[in-house]
Amino acid sequence: MNFTYTEEQLMFAETARTLLTDTCTPAHLREMMARGEARDDTRWNAIVETGLTLVLLPEAAGGLDLAEVDFAPIAEAAGYAGLPEPLVESAGVAAPLLAAIAPDHDVLTDPSATIAIQHPLNPFVADADTATVLILRHENETHVVAASAVSLTREESIDPFRRLFRVDWSPTAETRVEADQAGWDLALDRAALFAAAQGLGLAQRAIDLAVDYAKERTQFGKPIGSYQAVKHHLASAQVAVEFARPVVQAAAAAIGRQDDHARARVSHAKLVALEAADQAGRSSIQVHGAMGYSWEVDVHFFLKRAMALTYAWGDPAFHRARVAERLFRHPAGPDQLFAHEAA
């Protein structure tokens, strides 16, 4: 029993965090928005060169063959930065699924290429316009389709950096790939887990922005951060983050088991981390006052991302039902915290 990261893991996470926060500041985000661009090539190249797109790929595909506990901090950093590029869904979900179902696919040899993924729980496909290939579903079949073979219709999201598309395409025998349910189940769990990890980052960013503002802004002759009403909003949000983080970490450690216990923990993580992000985002807006409701202050970027991720990859009702499944079908109690089904 050891609930800590190794020095090496902590260093890798720190590298990712530094890279993303340095290259993806709110000023960068606003420049991109002004240019109407989907991707910042300089930043994406740095992400690729650091190996962040290779974390979950097997060595056979040129990957680092690391685990979800290693990718979760990267997803958290992506949330903290409000990263627009599809690092999390492509490298954390789609690429490892493709490596499992089509290990010889060409796209896996290009670490800078991105892969978009459709799932029955999501009505639209994120970042389909910048993807080289798309993993799509037709009834129960899995298809891997080149970007050139699909037609995309943009579905505008409240999150200015979220690029959602309706995908129209025709399944053929050539695009069809054999994929078992277990592969898709793992993909869903990874997507939910990494959405949760992003939620931690989004929550902390919203709190940090509010703390900075509350130290500077004065009313009644004092910084507003000295008033307890303001302090308590942010302290409560921080409590939510502190008790979501170990759940996300434990879910990352358990995800490979793919049993009711692991699924419930992933769902628990997604629920509470995105609730924390919502609470932190709304508290941050409240602390910023009228400024918080303006386009000019950056908090809304993080609040909107949290909103989108709350309903993507299984909404709260879906994930609550999975926790209920574990609670009511298996023994509960203090000796069951790390329970799992026999392998």
């Binding site: 029993m1 703390v211 130290k215 308590h232 921080q238 008790f243 170990p246 759940v247 628990h268 790390f338």
Partner: protein, 385 residues
């Protein structure tokens, strides 16, 4: 990161489970705050625990402990709550003062006080608050005047848990003329010393769970001061850290309650508001989140880290989850929720109501949740005072 128990840890769990199965009283003891008999029955239980070498498993052997690590402590606590073993009447001693003594005490003080604490021979009460010093603890007015090798204590302490029946108490005393955080010392005094008057105060449930203590020229040896003279505030904050941190509320307590809540819900599923199901799931998630957080903290402490202001987040989380969990149980029981277990038609109401009333104290004691939120805002987030 490896979230699996080792074979040694599994074997330790089995050992604890077997011992508890053989020794936990078949019928629950009367509450230790209810009567002297209930209190003494719990002292006897502490002796029984010590006879199995389970007094305070994390303490060093030389001071009456077993020298185990924090993961073993968590496993012990899990089995303890799972077995429905009696509440720890000496929790002020073993969980609060004990760890502080281990950190700040002299070898002589440790030898004098710790083994008797671990065996239940001496049961401890805390004497933090005074009528004018609650959340603002630095406002204490009780005084300690040094006379040779003794202190002469005077003052008025209040809300002292366990003080009605306990043997010893610890509290902050001020050198006359000093102010606020300066000039305070943490001093122990026997509750039967000449000059000590203890008046019971009934809790919301009618139990004499706390007391006010009047000290009039109470003489104690200077040996009873923990740490240096005037260092009391610093030591007191360390004690509060233990209280808010790892030791005060075992996650196992809530995990057992959440499992019972799920069983209660299943029994009444067809007759209750379906929306209650979400609250049952929530209570389970909260209990698990708290447990995972404590495992994470225990691992970090074992790797050499210290508990900082984040301990304040624990106290807020467990106190709020406790209330929510028990409110959910009462919602399932519906119109029978108000019945005391002695009511002729109480049926399966059990301890839910009693435990709910107990949970209401959570946001108040060990530093109110408002104070904890101030600590989080100022020391974790860096907001101005």
């Amino acid at each position: 990161m490896d979230l699996a128990y080792t074979p040694e840890q599994d074997a330790f769990r089995a050992e604890v489970r077997a011992w508890l199965e053989a020794h936990v009283p078949a019928t629950p003891l009367e509450h230790f705050d209810a009567t002297r008999e209930g209190f003494e029955a719990h002292r006897d239980w502490e002796r029984t625990l010590k006879s199995g070498d389970w007094g305070m498993v994390t303490w060093p052997r030389e001071y009456g402990g077993r020298g185990l690590d924090l993961i073993q402590w968590l496993i012990f606590e899990e089995e303890y709550y799972r077995a429905g073993a009696p509440g720890r009447v000496n929790q002020n001693g073993i969980f609060l003062l004990g760890p502080t003594l281990i950190e700040f005490g002299t070898p002589e003080q440790k030898g004098r006080f710790l083994p008797a604490m671990a065996s239940g021979e001496e049961i401890w009460a805390q004497a933090w608050s005074e009528p004018q010093a609650g959340s603002d603890l630095a406002g204490v007015r009780a005084t300690a005047v040094r006379e040779g090798d003794e202190y002469v204590l005077n003052g008025h302490k209040i809300w002292s848990s366990r003080a009605v029946f306990a043997d010893w108490a610890f509290g902050l005393f001020r050198e006359p003329g000093t102010e606020r955080h300066k000039g305070l010392s943490l001093i122990f005094f026997p509750l039967d010393a000449p000059g000590v008057t203890v008046n019971a105060i009934q809790k919301i449930n009618g139990h004499a769970g706390f007391a006010e203590i009047f000290l009039e020229d109470v003489r104690v040896p200077a040996f009873n001061r923990l740490g240096d003279e005037g260092q009391g505030w610093h030591i007191c904050m360390a004690t509060a850290g233990f209280e808010r941190g790892l030791m005060l509320r075992s996650p196992a307590r809530y995990q057992v309650a959440a499992a019972k809540l799920a069983a209660l819900y299943k029994q009444h599923e067809n007759s209750v508001d379906p929306a209650i199901r979400n609250d049952v799931v929530r209570a389970f998630m909260n209990a698990e989140a708290y447990a995972l957080s404590i495992y994470s903290t225990a691992s970090k402490l074992m790797a050499g880290a210290k508990i900082g202001p984040e301990a304040s987040t624990n106290k807020i989380f467990w106190s709020e989850l406790d209330i929510h969990l028990h409110q959910t149980a009462l919602a399932i029981l519906g119109p029978r929720a108000e019945l005391l277990p002695t009511a002729p038609d109480a049926g399966d109401v059990g301890d839910w109501l009693d435990d709910y009333i107990f949970a209401l104290a959570g946001p108040i004691y060990a530093g109110s949740n408002e104070i904890q939120r101030n600590i989080i805002a100022e020391r974790m987030l860096g907001l101005p005072r």
